[in-house]
């Protein structure tokens, strides 16, 4: 957000805002003065007041002046843009690393100790390096308050961004690169806290998820929320990109396997296969290829928790 209250939310705000100030200042000056000049000419040299035009074909002197001045001004603007951008490319060695997974249509964040969340938690005044991993298509991680943005390109190595949060608070985090149906719902938050608070939060690996969870079914729901299953599956029976989870447990459904239709019962084996090899059995009436395998993303235990939860969705 471009407002003064969150100025200095990160170490890049200053450089970026200065660039804006310089360019917008020069732009407004030219826009206003040229518009006023134009209106003055139109008024003063109106046919009624000035019936005969004075023929002037040009002036080399003026052409040189109004080539050189804009040239210098644009070089100045380039300089500020460059100076504000340069530090974004140089990550400090002591930066804390967080891996960001982007997929249609949510983000998840994995910390150095293996903790995983759907909201980005960060300590204040410490540089962080976000390693960006796009699982399916292009996404772009955008945190307006920090003035940072970097596309997440599938298959790209060394895809990263860095910054240093400098103010406690909760900030919006968007996907800025169009990525399909739910693009506008692909957003999350950054929670910046005091270093001490952060250290105790991150050390608590038993509590892997953002909220207190006790029953196994609730854990399953939380895992699914974090990893974004509900972008495509509803709980209330409405049809999204994928089938709703409402009451599917134990149902007999029609799937297409290798082009052949067959009947299956939704049981543990089927759900596990749907998560690890989603395109092996494709539910009749839905498109193949949209749901990607969560192999390597969700452990056996995660899947068991999900299964426990699915049993309860009625």
């Amino acid at each position: 957000m471009y407002s003064s209250e969150i100025t200095q939310a990160s170490n890049f705000v200053k450089g970026v805002d200065l660039t804006f100030l310089v360019i917008l200042g020069i732009s407004f000056f030219f826009l206003i003065s040229l518009t006023v000049l134009m209106i003055v000419f139109i008024y003063k040299y109106n046919r009624k007041r000035h019936p005969v035009a004075k023929q002037i074909e040009g002036s080399t002197k003026l052409e040189i002046i109004w080539t050189v001045i804009p040239l210098l001004l644009t070089l100045l603007m380039f300089y500020f843009g460059w100076a504000g951008y340069k530090p974004m490319t140089k990550v400090p060695d002591d930066a804390m690393e967080v891996t960001v997974y982007g997929r249609m249509w949510n983000f998840s964040f994995e910390y150095e100790n293996g903790k995983r969340t759907d909201t980005l938690f960060l300590p204040k005044d410490k540089p962080v390096k976000l390693n960006l991993v796009a699982m399916d298509v292009l996404h772009s991680l955008y945190i307006p308050a920090f003035r940072v943005k970097q596309d997440m390109v599938p298959g790209k190595e060394n895809n990263f961004m860095w910054f240093e949060p400098q103010k406690e608070g909760t900030y919006e985090l968007f996907c800025a690169e169009y990525c399909g149906l739910q693009h506008s719902y692909m957003y999350s938050y950054v929670n910046v806290m005091e270093d001490t608070a952060f250290q105790s939060w991150i050390a608590d690996t038993t509590q892997v998820l953002a909220e207190n969870i006790d029953s196994p079914t609730a854990t399953g729901k939380r895992i699914m929320q974090n990893i974004g299953c509900f972008a495509c599956h509803s709980l209330d029976g409405s049809r999204l990109v994928g089938p709703s989870f409402k009451g599917i447990w134990g149902e007999e459904i029609t799937v297409v396997t290798d082009g052949e239709e067959r009947q299956v019962v939704v049981d543990e084996e089927y759900v596990r296969r749907s998560i690890y090899e989603p395109n092996a059995d494709v539910v009749d009436g839905f498109n193949k290829g949209l749901m990607l395998s969560y192999e390597g993303q969700l452990s056996e235990e995660d899947v068991n928790n999900i299964i426990e939860y699915l049993k309860t969705v009625n």
Binding site: M1, Y2, G15, V16, T19, F20, L24, L34, L37, M38, F41, I42, Y45, N46, R47, H50, P51, V52, A53, K54, Q55, I56, E57, G58, L62, W66, P70, T74, M77, F78, F80, G81, W82, Y85, M88, T89, D136, V137, L138, S140, Y142, P144, R147, K149, V153, P154, G155, K156, E172, F174, C175, A176, Y178, C179, G180, L181, Q182, H183, S184, Y187
Partner: protein
């Protein structure tokens, strides 16, 4: 002027050739009729594009679902973009006014290759139908945005190939028109019409023709690569096959950035005609304007990377593209200075085309200056892929090309149709349209600076205010558009008969009757040594 030539007894609108009625138009090789064929086909496509735009704005009136689902919204902005870019602004002024005026402005009877010219229009129509068919039939309307970015475009629907193929045919139409104009300008100028006496509109057509000829084939190359990838699974763009999605972006923008100059250069040319005429004064800095046209045409090839500053190019490439982007701004600034100086000590006759021209200068300045924000690396990182960019390019492409198009149609209307429009209604249409335009697109700059990403079906509450204003502006703009169109359509049939030279212009088209006879001139004119397009 009495026509002595037998064919020239009738004007081009009434002339009966081999065919009657509709066939007399769609098989006519007369550059004037071809110009009007483009005008009518583009007007239809533009209206469709406007309706889609209005639907999108209506959807964004409030957060959450307003009138359509996310899928429909995504398809709507894709189709809106494809239509407006490939079918309206890329053919743009050259297809309509270039065709109609170029031969007359250089004292020729037609373009160098009249049959090729007609073929270009046929290609255009074929391309339009192909793309529309791809959009309307098959497994769902593409929802990739007009940029068709990989790898999403490989994952969604299967209709991408025909759509890009249609865009390629449209590109072919553009290449052929460019080629035709180049040869025409080189070979067909009338005696005494030296390069230094060409009107500025012709000069911009010349610069544009080079871009059309040299940049458009890149789309063809991209198509071949996409086809190879889709048909044979050669991994070029899709990382799942070992390809590089960034390569696609490079190829896409190597064409699509110069295409912006294809859209804007002729617009600048039209403005360079209108301002001297209504100031009754020689254009200020004729040579500087030509030099800046050629500079834009050349440097415009080398700045495509500024669409990709957040994609992860190397540092050196980022600096190079940013610097060149700033340099390409200078020739545009020079033009603005020269236009305003042309008004100095003129004798200004304020008429509808002049209103459009000065509002063009105003919105074009805003578009250009906001482009400086996007050219600077640090600022670009912040507002790239936000509503700011949407505001910027609508100011350039719609504000620039669109306003110049309306300026041009109001300027050359009496020549084209031989009738004058209702000037009072034309002025009302202009003011309503301009207010609507400013209300529609200005809030986008604000929304982008607040951090609202683009291509958003839904948004957070904090972006509501700006979106309401913008939607409101879209209704004003639509009202203005309707007034303008009704006035022009009515006047083309029932307007007062126009004189040969109602605005006291000096370029050659004002020396032939309105509407011009079939072969333009009874006798090929000769330009005297002390004559020129701006010698009042």
């Amino acid at each position: 002027m009495q026509s002595t030539n037998a064919v020239n007894q009738a004007n081009y609108l009434e002339y009966r050739g081999r065919f009657k009625g509709l066939f007399g138009w769609i098989f006519s090789t007369d550059h004037k009729r071809i110009g009007l064929l483009y005008l009518y086909s583009m007007a239809v496509m533009f209206s469709v594009g406007v309706l889609l735009g209005l639907a999108m704005k209506l959807e964004l009136l409030a957060p959450g679902k307003t009138i359509m689902d996310a899928q429909d919204y995504n398809a709507t902005f894709t189709v809106h973009g494809v239509i407006m870019i490939f079918m309206v602004v890329v053919p743009g002024l050259p297809a309509v006014f270039g065709n109609f005026l170029l031969p007359i402005m250089i004292g020729a009877k037609d373009v160098a290759f009249p049959k090729l010219n007609l073929l270009s229009w046929w290609f255009y129509v074929a391309g339009v139908f192909l793309v529309l068919a791809a959009l309307l039939f098959g497994p769902g309307t593409p929802d990739t945005g007009w940029t068709f970015y990989a790898p999403y475009s490989f994952k969604t629907g299967t209709n991408m190939l025909p759509a890009i193929f249609g865009a390629f045919i449209l590109g072919f139409s553009s290449i052929l028109t460019g080629l035709n104009f180049l040869v025409t300008i080189h070979r067909m100028r009338c005696p005494g019409l030296k390069w230094s006496k060409l009107s500025l509109f012709v000069w911009t057509l010349y610069g544009t023709a080079w871009i059309q000829l040299l940049a458009t084939p890149v789309v063809g190359i991209t198509l071949v690569l996409v086809a190879l990838e889709r048909l044979f699974g050669v991994g070029i763009f899709d990382p799942a096959l070992g390809g590089d999605p960034i390569l696609y972006q490079h190829l896409f923008w190597i064409y699509s950035h110069p295409a912006v100059y294809i859209m804007i250069l002729p617009a600048m040319g039209a403005i360079s005609e209108i301002i001297p005429t209504f100031s009754q004064k020689h254009i200020f800095g004729y040579k500087a304007i030509i030099a800046s046209t050629m500079a834009i045409a050349f440097v415009g090839y080398l700045v495509w990377g500024h669409h990709m500053f957040t994609a992860g190019m190397s540092g050196t490439a980022q600096y190079y593209f940013s610097l060149l982007t700033f340099l390409v701004a200078i020739p545009s600034a020079i033009k603005v200075f020269n236009w305003i100086s042309t008004m100095y000590k003129g004798s200004i006759n304020i008429q509808t085309p002049f209103y459009w021209a000065i509002s063009f200068i105003f919105v074009f300045m805003i578009g250009g200056l906001s482009g400086l924000v996007l050219g600077a690396l640090a600022a670009n990182i912040y507002v790239h892929d936000t509503a700011f960019v949407v505001g910027h390019f609508h100011y350039i492409v719609f504000g620039g090309t669109g306003f110049a198009f309306f300026a041009a149609i109001h300027y050359w209307f009496p020549k084209i149709f031989g009738r004058m429009y209702d000037k009072a209604w034309a002025n009302i249409g202009w003011i309503v349209f301009t207010i609507g335009f400013l209300t529609l697109y200005s809030p986008m700059f604000y929304l982008g600076m607040m951090g609202m990403p683009r291509r958003y079906y839904d948004y957070l509450e904090e972006f509501h205010g700006g979106n309401i204003l913008s939607t409101f502006g879209s209704w004003i703009l639509a009202t203005g558009f309707i007034i303008i169109i009704v006035n022009l359509v009515r006047s083309a049939r029932r307007g007062e008969k126009a004189e040969m030279n109602p605005w006291k212009g000096k370029t050659l088209e004002w020396t032939v009757p309105s509407p011009p006879p079939v072969e333009n001139f009874d006798e090929i004119p000769e330009i005297a040594e002390d004559d020129g397009p701006y010698n009042y």
